[in-house]
Symmetry: C2
């Protein structure tokens, strides 16, 4: 498996485009993206578990109910959520605008929106830009598309990998937006994955669901599960590998590539959390089962007090034990070890739940790096899980204290 | 019922003192408090549900297992938590130091600590100050005691109320510390309540547990449930009211006074959350049951995105719906109404889950006050619940980015 360039259009038969149509006031910021596959795709998705679901999600879920799709239209600047019937009509209209210009039925178009909640989306500005958007579809269009889906993101999130299946080159590419309101639960922020792999739709859904559990669902920026989280994968089969129809070696290889890609995407979303100055990775090991390890790791990266301590590069490990404790998982606090690691080195600060003498200076240096790993060993079994988050900074407060204006 | 001065020593027979002994470096900051009742008290408590429990809690729970106590010793500056066997010995020694100087057994002394987690507590400095601390016991001592238990608190939290029971005046007083790591769950931050009411211990425990559920347990500052949360009530019977032994009118009256006091204390803890510039009160009404209303109200006040929006006085009600949605409670998002109220006025911003036109200027003015109430109406039943929180500010990040140094 190797990493390649090209993001969401890296796989055969996929084109994309992105532009500013005017949903956002800032003309420098692209706000509408389109992804198109030359052939009909097997499609799978996972959605937010938030009881309040964005209108585009409701429409996309309906469109994807037959396991097929050929296009994705996404706008930023307005989430089209909590907008009632008018919002449903707006989301359907977005799909129709694509179908009027490309050989595709509206029901095979996925619709997604991200931005402010609770404001009606003006579809007329989208309509005005549609001809240019469709005309702009190209292999290089991934560059504009990845930009058009960003909100407070500061870094473009995309990736593509290639691997061989029975002598055929298979590619998987993706683009995502993250930043704030990030605490995916059985779903995720917006992430769009394209592949030319030939794979049966039920297996595509299975591979996606399992991969999401180990990647996006282990990220948290602020504990707020969005109303619009969605991961979609489109597989058009143009790699011409023998179609994957069972849980065989080919399926495993596909899953391995998909997992790697999704975990990298998840890490980049955490790293670019709103206001974040660093990525916090928490590895809980020596657990009796993976689910417990996952809950504990997420507990650590979600704690406001842990997050602010990391912002201050303060080795306040007591807060890590406190956060583990309130996840309500059963473990023996007097067996817990805690260590920190970064490019600067490794340091153990707690053994058997009690303080170890350590150099504050060395700890500060380790915690000052941009990627820091917390190791928690429960000493009760062999299971482990990793979760990703970011620190809580002044900048998070600034961004979110005045988001709408 | 009327509010009076005197805090934790307002009730008959209670004395207190507080002083700086040297647990903290800053000599201006008192760090040790003692509360003493002339007579043995019926005692009840609720504790943190965090799996990691502070050593003082473990010792206090043992001491309170017989439902009796006569003294409380509390230090700030060090939580004596994650300190292993040495920490248990330190907490027991604190009780013994009281018993060596007052007519009380160590097992009738409640021990509490608050401050940094994971550092050994040096009991020798407490021992050195004990004679002065005991000599300082007085009615006016509540002034020093309330100060000695504070950490990053900026406001002293105390209250006392009086009411009549069968011609006898009964008093309940309290002092508390709050500020950070505040997300009590079936327990609370440190709060010490004293009363001269004569009441059977099992009824005292029942009254306390139910009151805590409706007060402290509905507060959150940062979602972090502390390892050291504890509410203790001591009742010495010196009001000479006929002892309360059943769920009669006297019990109801006692509960009413206790609830009122605890809710005021809870509000003041939320209002003085670390870095808070305002109190956020969320009232969820029209719910099918109280538990759901409570979970939804807590969901709103715990959301980092809601909290930062309030800091910016931004009427971003979409975040409120989003927060309601991810509590995983069943409700119909398309029936939800949202309004804001403060001393400046009242404004409705969302009806049936969809936007209402409203004046941004008026909303900003309402949200700029120091106490703001969010009303959420589910239109599905008659139950309601209120939760209290605070905004998330730059100051919270500053305080917690560098707490230990």
């Amino acid at each position: 498996m190797k990493q390649i360039r090209g993001g969401v259009t890296a796989a055969k038969g996929f084109l994309a485009s992105g532009m500013h149509v005017g949903i956002r006031k800032n003309k420098e910021k692209k706000d509408l993206a389109l992804v198109w596959s030359e052939r009909m795709c097997a499609a799978a998705a996972v959605y937010t578990t938030n009881k309040v679901k964005g209108q585009p999600l409701i429409v996309s879920r309906e469109h994807l109910s037959d396991g097929k799709a050929q296009a994705i239209i996404v706008n930023s600047g307005n989430a089209n959520t909590c907008t009632g019937e008018a919002g449903i009509a707006a989301a359907k209209r977005m799909a129709a605008l694509v179908a009027e210009r490309l050989p595709v039925k509206p029901e095979d178009v996925v619709v997604a929106s991200t931005g402010v909640i609770g404001q009606l989306l003006d579809v007329s500005v989208i309509e005005a830009g549609m001809d240019s958007l469709v005309a702009g579809l190209s292999k290089a269009g991934y560059l504009d598309a990845r930009e058009a889906i960003m909100t407070t993101d500061t870094v473009k999130k995309e990736l593509a990998v290639q691997f061989e299946l029975k002598g055929k080159t298979v590619t998987i590419g993706a683009m995502a937006k993250g930043s704030g309101m990030i605490h995916p639960n059985m779903a995720t922020m917006l992430s769009f994955i394209t592949t030319d792999c030939a794979i049966d739709q039920p297996l595509l859904q299975k591979a996606l669901s399992e991969s999401v559990r180990r990647s996006y669902n282990r990220v948290s920026v602020d504990g707020d599960t969005s109303t619009n989280d969605m991961v979609v994968i489109l597989a058009n089969g143009m790699a011409e590998n023998p179609i994957i129809t069972s849980l065989d070696d080919d399926y495993q290889e596909f899953c391995e590539a998909l997992d790697w890609l999704n975990i990298q995407m998840a890490r980049s979303i955490a790293r670019d959390g709103e206001g974040a100055t660093k990525l916090i990775e928490c590895v809980v090991e020596g657990a009796s089962d993976e689910e417990k390890a996952e809950q504990l790791a997420k507990g650590v990266i979600c704690s406001s007090l842990v997050k602010t301590a990391f912002f201050g590069a303060d080795a306040n490990w007591g807060r890590i034990l406190c956060a583990l404790g309130y996840t309500r998982n059963d473990f023996d606090p007097e067996k817990v070890d805690v260590s920190f690691e970064s490019a600067s080195g490794f340091i153990s600060v707690c053994k058997n739940g009690a303080p170890l003498p350590f150099s504050e200076e060395k700890a500060k240096k380790i915690l000052s790096y941009q990627e820091v790993t917390v190791y928690v060993d429960l000493h009760e079994g062999d299971a482990q899980a990793t979760a990703w988050g970011c620190d809580l900074s002044y900048e998070y407060v600034r961004i979110n204290g005045d988001y709408r204006t």
